[in-house]
């Protein structure tokens, strides 16, 4: 099936790029955040975040729920206005094309799968067909989204994002609601499509393993700041359970848990007083 084909291109692409995916000029955007801050009702969610992401880089942002990682992504997407600092997205084109994948697929239930993929394209039915084919769902083109499974809906959402040939793809926990097997399948698909097309990707996830599988760089956000910025220098495709893989996963997890322990200690001290 289609996924196998992708699997094959993935392997060959990996060899070609040797783990340093830098997209062809103009297809990947450069992302620069300067002193980006956000407050909600007086509570600081993000505080002076400085970040540079190279064109074609795959960056994962991890952190506990409510740490502000989704807010960060929404500010990059322009869905929320920062209270301070700025977001700069530069691509080869004049206006870099940024697309977002949401946690829920957000397909329009009254449009067929194909119409959903073609959303916002003037006459993009052919392009939509191709994109749908690339996620292996061409035969479901005329179905309503209501009859698809959760994983299939996310694949349609992925096709909808990719049909615009984005230079920057933002993924807001798009796999959070999927079962473990579908998740792995989707991770492979996202990786293959990223390798194939070379866009810049920012993935927000609470799953450390997912971050290490997919990303060139893993960022950890804690207390509104970047607490960790780790290069994952592993060759692709990455095998879960390998020693090097495990070491990196452990390092990130420990950092997450460490601050958690500190927090608990603080609470303990607080209650002692």
């Amino acid at each position: 099936m289609k996924i196998d084909q992708i699997e094959k291109t993935r392997v060959s692409e990996t060899h070609a790029r040797a783990g340093h995916p830098a997209g062809p000029e103009g297809r990947a955007a450069h992302l620069k955040l300067r002193k980006l801050s956000k407050q909600y009702a007086g509570r600081t969610v993000l505080e002076a975040i400085d970040l540079q992401i190279k064109p074609g880089e795959f960056v994962a942002v991890v952190g506990r729920s409510g740490c502000g990682k989704s807010t960060l992504l929404r500010m990059i997407a322009g869905l929320e206005r920062p209270d301070g600092g700025q977001v700069k997205i530069g691509g080869g084109g004049v206006a870099p094309d940024v697309r977002m994948m949401f946690q829920d697929a957000r397909l329009l239930p009254w449009k067929t799968v194909l119409q959903n993929v073609a959303l916002g394209l003037a006459d993009g039915i052919d392009a939509a067909r191709k994109a749908l084919d690339s996620v292996g769902l061409l035969e479901r083109a005329d179905d309503w989204p209501a009859v698809l499974s959760g994983g299939q809906r996310q694949r349609v959402a992925l096709a909808r994002a990719l049909v615009h040939e984005p230079q920057l793809l933002l993924l807001d926990e798009p796999l959070g609601a999927l079962d473990a097997l579908t998740r792995i399948e989707m991770q492979r698909m996202i990786e293959a499509l990223w390798l194939d097309r070379g866009f810049t990707a920012v993935l927000v996830t609470h799953d450390v393993q997912e971050a290490v599988v997919l990303a060139d760089r893993v960022l950890l956000i804690e207390n509104g700041r970047l607490a960790l910025d780790l290069d994952v220098g592993l060759a692709r495709p990455r095998e879960r359970g390998g020693a090097a893989f495990g070491a990196i996963e452990k390092q990130v997890l420990e950092q997450v848990l460490d601050t958690h322990h500190k927090l608990e200690k603080n609470i303990a001290n607080f209650t002692k007083c």
Partner: protein, 257 residues
Amino acid sequence: MRTRLSKLGAPLAPWALPLLLIAAWQLSSRAGWLSSRILPEPWAVAKAFHDLAVSGELWTHLRVSLWRAAAGFGLGAGVGLLLGLLNGSSRRAATLLDTTLQMIRNIPALALIPLVILWFGIDEAAKLFLLAVGVFFPVYLNTFHGIRSVDAGLVEMAKSYGLSGWALYRDVILPGALPAILVGVRFALGLVWVLLIVAETISAQAGIGYMTMNAREFLQTDVVLVGVLLYALLGKAADWSARGLERRFLRWNPAYR
């Protein structure tokens, strides 16, 4: 064998009770338990129906009533839809208009009859006004509510995919509000017949209501019953067409398939 019988029976089952009632009615008329002054036998009603149809009187009245219902519904539902869309989409319009409309809503349309007669006399205009006012509110309220409750996540997604203005309205907001709008339309289609009956019995020179009021004067109970049955059939037809609309426009929704 039994399953085949029950398969055949399934679409007929809803009609079993009406048919049984008619049979009982015919029987009691024949047995002399029911005076024909109170309730003529079904056969007499069918005959009256046939006579009216042959003389062409029935069709004249039916046409007039249908036209009134369509015009009143079109007017009221059209304005209701427009104002519902406006107030649902614009906070400012809602602030200015909604409170006033909610106040007017609490006046029963039929309580306006004396005023309407003073304003419009007893002509067509009075009847159309009554129908339109009555039909306006279910359509307005449901459209307003439908637009307001469109999934904000979908709107955000569509905007981030470059949709705005009319395209956003056509592809996201209107289809999102459509289930609620159609509930309003269905309700209004039921209401329009109720109001029409009242409006036509006030004073009219034609229409099913006129036909029945006229027949009452001459104690033609069978013709009165023809009128009552016609209203029932027309109401059912209106409801049926509203369901057709739902099936057509809400195909995507598993609840309507």
